[in-house]
């Protein structure tokens, strides 16, 4: 573990973030979008922890825990929205959900 260089960790974090972002932007299913969001958050977490280890500074761990708590809350809200969406329209297709505007 200690033999893995920082840059590799960062590549992993960026990849996770990028895959998540791509999913958020392109997928139409609300559940997949939520999962992609989790990927992005975890990509960020990986980056935090990688820097923490490289610098020998444990303060970033706190940030990671906050992110996890926020992510949990976000999932709770997001899933509630998805269920409301499903009850309303019979599916969780985000393109159709746009009709709610106005």
């Amino acid at each position: 573990m200690s033999g893995v260089p920082l840059s590799w960790w960062l590549v992993l974090a960026t990849a996770l973030f990028g895959i998540g972002a791509l999913g958020v932007v392109t997928r139409r299913n609300a559940l997949v979008v939520l999962m992609s969001l989790e990927l992005m958050l975890n990509g960020v977490n990986v980056a935090f922890l990688a820097f923490a280890r490289a610098r020998g500074d444990s303060l970033a761990h706190a940030a990671v825990f906050i992110v996890m708590a926020v992510a949990a809350a976000e999932v709770a809200v997001g899933l509630a929205l998805a269920i409301a969406l499903f009850r309303h329209g019979g599916n969780v297709d985000l393109d159709r959900a746009r009709r709610m505007k106005g």
Partner: protein, 651 residues
């Protein structure tokens, strides 16, 4: 008793002013819910109370120069201080007696005339409000308070001319009266502004008089400043008293109910201009040039209006032009320095013209609304009281000896010739010219008034639809009282030194103004002129008899045909209205259309008001494309932005 009254004149003055106001408020607010009898009682009771209080106050005033009473300080701003003060001097005493006395009779008459009108209480409310404003005008100690009354009577005049406002023509007549008066009011205001500067904050008439007595400052006899100020004030008088060039509103004002014409547009409000000049006689007398202009305006108006009165066929229009003409006499009197004579004519005119208007109202009432004298005739047999009172008043206005109009008109004529300004560059021909015009007007007055009388009351009824009948007692009683006044009012001012109670009574008010004029007349001239006036009056009556009753009845039509264009010009009231329409109203309306189109509709509405929201809307319609509600698109934009930022930041 006299001592008690004497000590309470101040209180009585407040009763005089506020009794009509109370009547106006009661009838104005509660009127529609009250019974007719109660409305009449309040409406007629208020002026009667005011009249009794006026009579007592005048009695209490006797022997003193003036009584002043202050309620509170109305305006206090730096050096400017205006109190709500009333001021009773011999002149205002005469005026309040005329206003409340004739006002009471006309209110009584109105209960008969307006009987059955759906807006009965509104009518009495406005009429009482008018009396309040007129009494405030007359009694105001400060010029500013006088102006408040001045505007108040203008407002009531407007309200009562347009009393039947569902008739468009009547509503327009009211508006015209109001607007024309505004022009005069502008002059009045301008004069007051200058005076308040000169006086360093006070507009009280007694203070002004003291300042003029002291002389110095701006109050230089013959000075340009005084001339301009008095001219501005005179502009106000021409508006209110319907003198050339602002006479155009008065004939149209006949659209109001006939008692209103009698009270406001004959006996009281229209004399406010004359009253104002008389009130400020000491100031006007300082400016001989202004006085000459006043005299010429009065004489020209007297002649000019009389000539129009000769060809009118509407009974009220004839009387309206007659009023303009008689107001011309009063202004002429004031202009030649005979202030007492001007106010004397004001008083006698109030009696006979109110009686004539009320008589005309009685006739119109009997003819079921018809006002065209060509359709009347023979009414004398059916309406004996109306006819008798109308005849007395017609004789009085024509200047037949021993009736009131003879004494007052003759005094003006005599003083026009006799009085000269003691100093000042005024041409000698002005007096004789004014006299000639006034004498010609006197001839025309006798002629057109008897034309009116013969066409209305003599001969046979020419309308086949009307069934005339005598009016009820509530209308004939005021007629009889006014006719008695028209016959006898002149005897307070007999042209005999020791019996001229009128001049003696008003002497303290006019002595300063009169001192600036010298009399070149003599008793021979005075009595000679009486003979001339008598001949002129009788000649005018004989002419009217011959032309409209006697052997020459075919002549008027022929003369009209021979005069052709000139006759039509006179019939069209010299087309003054058309002239104003062309030079003032239409350019003004064109200007209004341009400003409406370009300043208002385009500049303000389109650009300033609707411009910003429209621009915002336009920008929004473009930007809206980006805010389409697709969260994923927002996220994509976010990531693209992030990528760009990173690319820029990371070297």
């Amino acid at each position: 008793m006299h001592a008690l009254v004497r000590d309470n004149v101040g209180t009585l003055l407040w009763v005089v002013v506020f009794a009509p106001l109370a009547g106006a408020i009661v009838n104005g607010i509660l009127g529609p819910r009250l019974k007719r009898g109660t409305v009449s009682l309040v409406g007629v009771g208020a002026p009667v109370v005011a009249f009794v209080a006026s009579a007592l106050a005048t009695w209490g005033l006797a022997g003193r120069e003036a009584v002043s009473t202050t309620l509170f300080t109305w305006i206090q701003a730096g050096p400017i201080r205006v109190d709500l003060s009333l001021w009773l001097d011999p002149l205002s005493a005469v005026m309040i007696l005329i206003v409340t006395g004739i006002g009471s009779l006309i209110h009584l008459y109105s209960t008969g005339y307006m009987h059955g009108d759906p807006s009965y209480s509104r009518y009495f409310s406005h009429l009482n409000l008018f009396l309040f404003a007129m009494l405030l005008l007359v009694l105001g100690k400060s010029l500013l308070l006088l102006f408040v009354g001045w505007e108040g009577v203008g407002l009531c005049s407007y309200l009562l001319i347009g009393f039947w406002f569902d008739d468009m023509a009547k509503a327009v007549a009211g508006k015209k009266a109001f607007l024309v008066n505004r022009i005069g009011d502008f002059g009045f205001l301008l004069g007051m502004f200058v005076l308040v500067f000169w006086m360093e904050g006070s507009l009280d008439v007694p203070a002004l008089r003291d300042a003029v007595d002291m002389g110095g400052g701006h109050f230089v006899p013959g000075g340009t400043g005084v001339m301009l100020v008095t001219l501005a004030l005179f502009l106000g008088a021409t508006g209110k008293s319907a003198q050339i060039p602002l006479h155009v509103w008065l004939p149209d004002a006949m659209a109001g109910p006939t008692p209103v014409s009698a009270l406001i547009h004959a006996a009281t409000m229209v004399t406010a201009g004359v009253y104002m000049i008389a009130r400020l006689n000491f100031l006007f007398a300082l400016a001989p040039t202004t006085m000459a202009i006043v005299a010429l305006t009065g004489a020209a108006t007297a002649l000019f209006a009389a000539s129009i009165g000769l060809v009118q066929n509407d009974i009220k229009k004839v009387l309206a032009y007659s009023t303009v003409s008689q107001l011309g006499y009063m202004v002429l009197g004031a202009g030649v320095g005979a202030f007492g004579a001007g106010v004397f004519h004001l008083m006698t005119h109030a009696f006979f013209k109110a009686c004539l208007f009320l008589g005309a109202g009685s006739v119109i009432h009997a003819m079921a609304g018809c006002q065209d004298i060509r359709l009347m005739g023979g009414l004398g047999k059916r309406m004996p009281w109306t006819r008798a009172t109308f005849l007395v008043s017609t004789l009085a206005i024509a200047g037949v000896p021993l009736l009131s109009g003879f004494f007052s008109k003759d005094e003006i004529l005599y003083k026009t010739l006799a009085l000269q300004p003691a100093s000042g560059p005024v041409a000698g021909w002005i007096g004789p010219l004014c006299f000639a015009m006034a004498l010609a007007a006197a001839l025309l007055t006798a002629t057109y008034m008897f034309r009116l009388y013969f066409l209305t009351f003599s001969g046979e009824l020419r309308s086949h639809h009307a069934h005339p009948h005598e009016s009820p007692a509530s209308m004939t009683i005021p007629l009889v009282v006014l006719a008695a006044g028209a016959a006898l009012a002149g005897y307070v001012g007999l042209p005999i030194e020791h019996l001229n109670f009128w001049e003696h009574w008003l002497h303290p008010v006019f002595e300063d103004g009169a001192a600036r004029f010298v009399s070149t007349g003599s008793h021979a001239l005075e009595y000679g002129l009486m003979g001339v006036s008598t001949v002129v009056a009788c000649g005018g009556i004989a002419l009217a008899w011959a032309l409209w009753r006697g052997p020459l009845t075919h002549v008027p039509a022929k003369a009209a045909a021979a005069a052709g264009g000139f006759y039509r010009l006179v019939c069209d009231r010299y087309r003054i209205d058309e002239l104003y329409d062309a030079i003032a109203i239409r350019p003004f309306q064109a200007l209004a259309r341009v400003t409406h189109r370009w300043l208002d509709a385009f500049g303000i509405d389109a650009v300033l008001v609707n411009g910003p929201p429209r621009a915002v809307g336009w920008i929004g319609s473009i930007v809206r494309v980006a805010a389409n509600g697709d969260v994923q698109a927002y996220a994509a934009a976010l990531f693209v932005g992030l990528a760009v930022l990173l690319w820029l930041v990371i070297p």
